[in-house]
Subunit: 140 residues, 2 copies
DNA sequence: GTTCCTGCAAAAGCTTTGCAGAAGA
DNA sequence: TCTTCTGCAAAGCTTTTGCAGGAAC
């Protein structure tokens, strides 16, 4: 239980989404694990606490939360979808060595996007890939 | 047949990849359709010319071209993979209304990314979503 | 008591794999 | 001739759907 979790629970109540045990656990997981987990990772971890939990419920819950605007899906690699709590604008960096995804702050207004003068931009995503400092130092 | 297509054919020869009829057609398609097509779109269009063409061959060919570094895969929406000829660095804008993907030039050096000082960055992708000028004017 | 949610099983959709015949070099 | 490619069929995965029982309100 933390501030973010309670904030998210409040949001669910506002939107008339029922606070089931499973949903609260997924929400708690998302608010305490800022690791951009995959469905598999969420399932693996929560299954220990709730043996009857099914992946279907996780898919349902994540889609519900996406529709409610509480989380976002993130696709950097083509083969895996990850999920992210909605926070401030940030970029994603995926380490090709250990697979970890790091957030970094980014000033979206610093882009030079003169080509898009007549476009209505609703969403900006920045994805970087490379090697993180931990893996760089391990290679020495 | 255009300059880009011939350049790409040359690249294949250099890498000892055989110039089969199907591969040349896929290459030609990629070099003349800068629309970031999906596998389905490529299949649909080329099937008219080559009725025996299979999706397996398109998958094989695209993977061969990716390994050769001649094209890239692009994932903006979670549910569809698209393919892009390798060109200069550019951002991708997807129109939520008509689905078209537009390229726009972007100065990757203009990012303020002070958080990533110790990261080795190999790859930068920028994905925007919104409404394109054509669809904006149709809404009036 | 009603409504909505869970979770099993099955379906659906996309991509990869195995392999025999065909085509390229 | 020898190697590699094509394309069918089947397998493999992830995600969605249908639905009966159960939980939330």
């Amino acid at each position: 239980m933390n501030e973010t979790f309670e904030k998210l629970s409040e949001e669910l109540k506002k939107k008339n989404i029922r606070l089931s045990h499973q949903r609260l656990k997924v929400l708690e997981y998302m608010s305490t694990h800022k690791t951009h987990p995959t469905v598999d990772q969420i399932y693996h971890d929560l299954h220990k606490d709730i043996p009857t939990l099914s992946k279907t419920t996780i898919y349902n819950t994540l889609n519900t939360l996406i529709n409610a605007g509480l989380i976002k899906s993130v696709t950097i690699e083509d083969t895996e979808v990850r999920y992210d709590s909605v926070t401030d604008e940030h970029g994603h960096f995926k380490c090709e060595s250990c697979g970890t995804i790091f957030d970094f702050s980014i000033d979206f207004n610093s882009f030079s996007t003169q080509d898009l003068g007549n476009f209505k931009i609703k969403n900006k995503d920045v994805y970087f890939k490379g090697i993180c400092p931990n893996c760089i130092s391990e290679q020495h």
